[in-house]
């Protein structure tokens, strides 16, 4: 099996894997990173989003060959309880979820948005998250949390 190299959550990683296999399968399977979630397998719900470079992509339909030598960041790489990302702090402060299954992907979409547009309007936040689904109806809290994180990041 060919070997694939990538920078995963800041760490150079090399692993033997089928280049046509999905990124999500590798992350959740052999790499045991369960931050990204499976929702549909066809890139429609966004629960599996991770950052590839500065872009949030659906890892369920991203083939491994396409991320060779790229920087891949999962929820685990965004921040931790000890060193939270402002988005993670803001999601707690706004209690921005019900079940939280979609949140892993939504945080990654939001992180990509703030990298590209540090001071988004509410409309821009909604547009950026339009390809992430939430079934519990926590969207407004999530939008508030993202705007809160953007403000916090701008102030520091």
């Amino acid at each position: 099996m060919p070997s694939i190299r990538l920078h995963l959550n800041g760490v150079p990683t090399e692993i033997d894997a089928d280049p046509d296999g999905s990124l999500l399968d590798l992350l959740r399977g052999r790499l045991a990173l369960t931050g990204p979630h499976f929702g549909c397998g066809t890139g429609e719900c966004g629960a599996c989003r991770v950052l590839v470079g500065d872009h949030a992509v659906t890892s369920c339909d991203t083939p491994l060959w396409s991320v060779a030598d790229k920087e891949v960041t999962t929820l685990e790489g965004l921040g931790s309880e000890a060193h939270p990302h402002p988005l993670q702090r803001a999601f707690i402060a706004e209690q921005a979820m019900q079940c939280g299954y979609c949140v892993a992907g939504i945080l990654m979409s939001a992180a990509a948005l703030l990298k590209q547009n540090p001071k988004p309007t509410e409309g821009e936040v909604r547009a950026a998250l339009d390809r992430n689904l939430c079934r519990c109806g926590s969207q407004n809290r999530m939008v508030r949390a993202i705007l809160r994180a953007a403000n916090e990041m701008a102030a520091t």
Binding site: D18, G21, S22, D25, R28, G29, A32, L33, T34, G35, H37, F38, G39, C40, G41, T42, E44, C45, A47, T74, L75, E76, L78, G79, S80, E81, P84, Q88, F91, I92, Q95, M97, Q98, C99, G100, Y101, C102, V103, A104, L107, G123, V125, R126, A127, L129, D130, R131, N132, L133, C134, R135, C136, G137, S138, Q139, N140, R141, V143
Partner: protein, 709 residues
């Protein structure tokens, strides 16, 4: 006046042993073990608040245990917005009694009167600086005793945690990617399984070539029992490949015909039914009728459409003991049905809860648990994790039932209602597992010696009813007759989805009333207030109206509507005001709601549930409809079963009316019905057209316009 003797709260009466609810450990922790489960509603936090408050310990000392048949109190199912009511009341009573028991033990040890003792964060202190604690006493005080009725909980004024918006206990894990969902647990030696389900409705597996599946690297086993077939492999990718190979080798019968999705009312009304008169009110002397108004309302089948596909794990020891990990709403009830299918005694099956994604009723969580059990049987004692595909999740799980509702009202010469008739045609709204002598799990219908498909029933009115839920008017009409016709055929599988029949019934009632009010030339809020005498009902309507500045001045292209219901007629009061924009399609701009759940244990948690319910209801109303042709369910992806997206989500404002003195009820299902009606009424206000068929899509809007012109 005789006073009724005190009784235990229902869940505590069923599970009176105090130690089954609460345990102290000498290291300063208290373990609380409710029988209800977290399904994304925040219940675990609210229950922790109640327990910590009654015991006078900090929330940080409380460890909440997930439900398991091995240890937890049996609280049936986490459904019907009853968890706060049942588990919360039980915990409050149990903890109040436990506090008293510990105070008595402390009084003994310290040689002071129990009434002189106080508890702060678990430390018990009294006059003369004497002190001990729950933790010191833990080994000496036995809670292996039954609860006694009549214990008085803390006075409301002394509650420190209940009634405050503490942060939810589960949220940090979820933002930091700490494993919490069943999907993320990896047991040692875990294998992966997939079940092959037919495309055509209820097709039978009549042939299967499995060589290609067996040739997939990582293949472990095939399970086949009648029309039930699945594969087990070492990895998920291998399992998907083996399933695809198995599918190619499968031959299916034609299956069973489905109804015409474009004429659900005609289908529902043509089926054999069991008819029940739900309620009758006879007028003593009402004005003579001058006019009869008759309207029909239809709601489609609705999918649960949780973001995560259902998942379960199972592991056998020998061939007669099995451990199951599940996100079912009822571990004991699931165990009952597993025992029926497996023909094993209950004690040979352990069922343990792990969190799943948001659960809005009886989804395939229980079905996938049996799938895992059947596949794990072939796995030589290794655990097997089974996850459904998105397509199966949207096509093979139970749906919320389609409904046709006819309302006929006699109006007097002024246009006031003198008699009201409400008739419902619908499949039953409940076929949950574990309640009957036959299992209701999908694979149980597919195996070689299948169990008969359970035709969904309806809970009795005393439990809130099913198809008839919220069909008895909350208004002061002089006379009414409410009738429910439950279908005895069930080509599309139905069971409990949030609100059961309430969403359909309230949609019908509240839209009909809007027409009556319009006929009288009366404001719809004023009309409702004039016909309601329950002050809590009037308060939520007035609060929502005030907050929405009812009724804003007319604006072209914008409409406003109101809806009200008290969930199950006995639960939470909720009023909603919708602001919409409409032309060829409808955009919901803003929803303003007021809710009264009695004592709101966690007001922000209540607001979160109401917001979520309002947004989910908006999605149902504008977009959702299970699609099918005559052979199969066709809405098997997010493209074919769209739900509301971020850019389409309305602003939502919620006012929680806190009534600490009134026993709390749940909030998870209170918003759906009022919001549905408010949107439909706003559509009329905006476009002058009454849409009586959900969803209010471009198609139903055009059809309604054509009908009214």
């Amino acid at each position: 006046m005789s006073q009724a003797s005190p009784v235990l709260p229902v869940s505590l009466a069923a599970n009176p042993r105090l130690s089954s609810w609460v345990k102290f450990s000498s290291d300063g922790q208290v373990t609380v073990s409710p029988g209800k489960v977290e399904i994304g509603q925040g219940i675990v936090t609210a229950l922790a608040q109640i327990a910590a408050d009654e015991l006078d310990v900090g929330l940080g000392r409380v460890r909440m245990v997930r439900a398991t048949t091995a240890a937890s109190p049996n609280e049936g199912v986490t459904s019907g917005s009853l968890s706060i009511q049942q588990s919360g009341r039980a915990l409050r009573a149990a903890c109040a009694e436990i506090r008293t028991i510990f105070l008595a033990a402390a009084a003994d040890r310290l040689g002071v009167d129990a009434t002189a003792l106080a508890v702060e964060d678990g430390t018990i202190s009294g006059p003369g600086n004497v002190r001990t604690s729950y933790w010191e006493l833990a080994d000496d005080v036995s809670l292996d005793r039954d609860a006694t009725p009549g214990v008085t909980p803390k006075p409301i004024a002394r509650r420190a945690l209940a009634g405050t918006s503490v942060e939810r206990l589960d949220i940090p894990d979820k933002v930091f990617g700490v494993r919490r969902f069943i999907h993320d647990f990896a047991l040692p030696g875990l294998l992966h399984g997939r079940v092959m389900r037919p495309e055509n409705s209820r097709a039978k597996l009549i042939g299967l070539k499995d060589d290609a599946a067996r040739a997939v690297p990582g293949f472990v086993a095939i399970a086949r029992d009648g029309s039930f077939a699945g594969v087990v492999c070492e990895t998920e990718a291998a399992t998907e490949a083996a399933l695809a190979a198995l599918r190619k080798g499968a031959a299916w019968s034609e299956g069973e015909a489905l109804p015409d999705e474009n004429d659900l009312a005609a289908f529902l009304k043509a089926q054999p039914v069991e008819s029940t008169v739900i309620d009758v009110r006879m007028a003593r002397n009402s004005a003579p009728k001058a006019l009869t108004l008759r309207r029909q309302y239809v709601r489609p089948y609705i999918a649960h459409a949780s973001i995560a596909p259902c998942c379960a794990m199972a592991q056998w020891s020998g061939n007669d003991r099995v451990h199951v990990w599940t996100h079912s709403q009822g571990v004991y009830l699931l165990r009952n049905d597993l025992a029926l299918v497996l023909k094993l005694p209950l004690e040979n099956i352990a069922v343990e809860h792990l969190e799943g994604a948001g659960c809005y009723g009886h989804n395939p969580a229980d079905d996938v648990a049996l799938d895992a059990v059947l596949l794990a049987k072939e796995a030589g004692g290794r655990p097997v994790r089974v996850q459904w595909s998105r397509a199966d999740e949207l096509t093979h799980g139970p749906f919320g039932a389609a409904m046709a509702i006819e309302i006929e009202a006699d109006l007097d010469a002024k246009g006031e209602i003198v008699e009201w008739r409400h008739s419902i045609w619908s499949n039953g709204h409940a076929a949950r597992p574990g309640r009957g002598t036959k299992p209701t799990l999908l694979a149980g219908y597919e195996i070689e010696n299948p169990f008969p498909i359970a035709i969904s029933g309806n809970p009795p009115q005393a439990n809130g009813g099913g198809g008839d839920r919220n069909s008895v008017p909350l208004y002061d009409f002089p006379a009414w007759k409410i009738e429910s016709h439950r279908l005895l055929t069930m080509p599309v599988r139905t069971s409990a989805l949030r609100t059961l029949g309430a969403q359909g019934n309230v949609f019908a009632i509240e839209c009909f009333l809007d027409e009556v009010a319009a006929g009288l030339g009366e404001d719809p809020v004023a009309y409702r207030l004039r016909h309601l005498d329950d002050e809590r009902a009037r308060d939520v309507i007035r609060a929502a109206a005030r907050r929405a500045n009812w009724k804003p001045a007319p604006k072209p292209g914008t409409g406003y509507g109101v809806g009200y219901a008290r969930y199950k007629n006995t639960g939470a009061y909720c009023a909603a005001i919708a602001e919409i924009e409409g032309d060829e399609e409808i955009r919901v701009k803003k929803l303003t709601l007021a809710v009264d759940v009695g004592e709101a244990i966690n007001p922000d948690g209540v607001a979160n549930q109401i917001e979520g319910g309002a947004i989910q209801a908006t999605s149902w109303v504008l977009k959702e409809r299970v699609r099918f042709d005559r052979t199969r369910i066709t809405s098997n992806s997010w493209t074919d079963y769209p739900i509301l997206r971020f850019s389409e989500v309305p602003q939502v404002e919620v006012e929680v009316i806190q009534r600490s003195e009134i026993d709390p009820v749940g909030a998870g299902e209170a918003a759906h019905s009022p919001v549905t009606a408010a949107i439909a009424n706003a559509v009329f206000d905006c476009l002058g057209v009454r849409v009586r068929r959900l969803p209010i899509s471009r198609d139903s809007l055009i059809a309604a316009m054509a009908q009214s012109s």
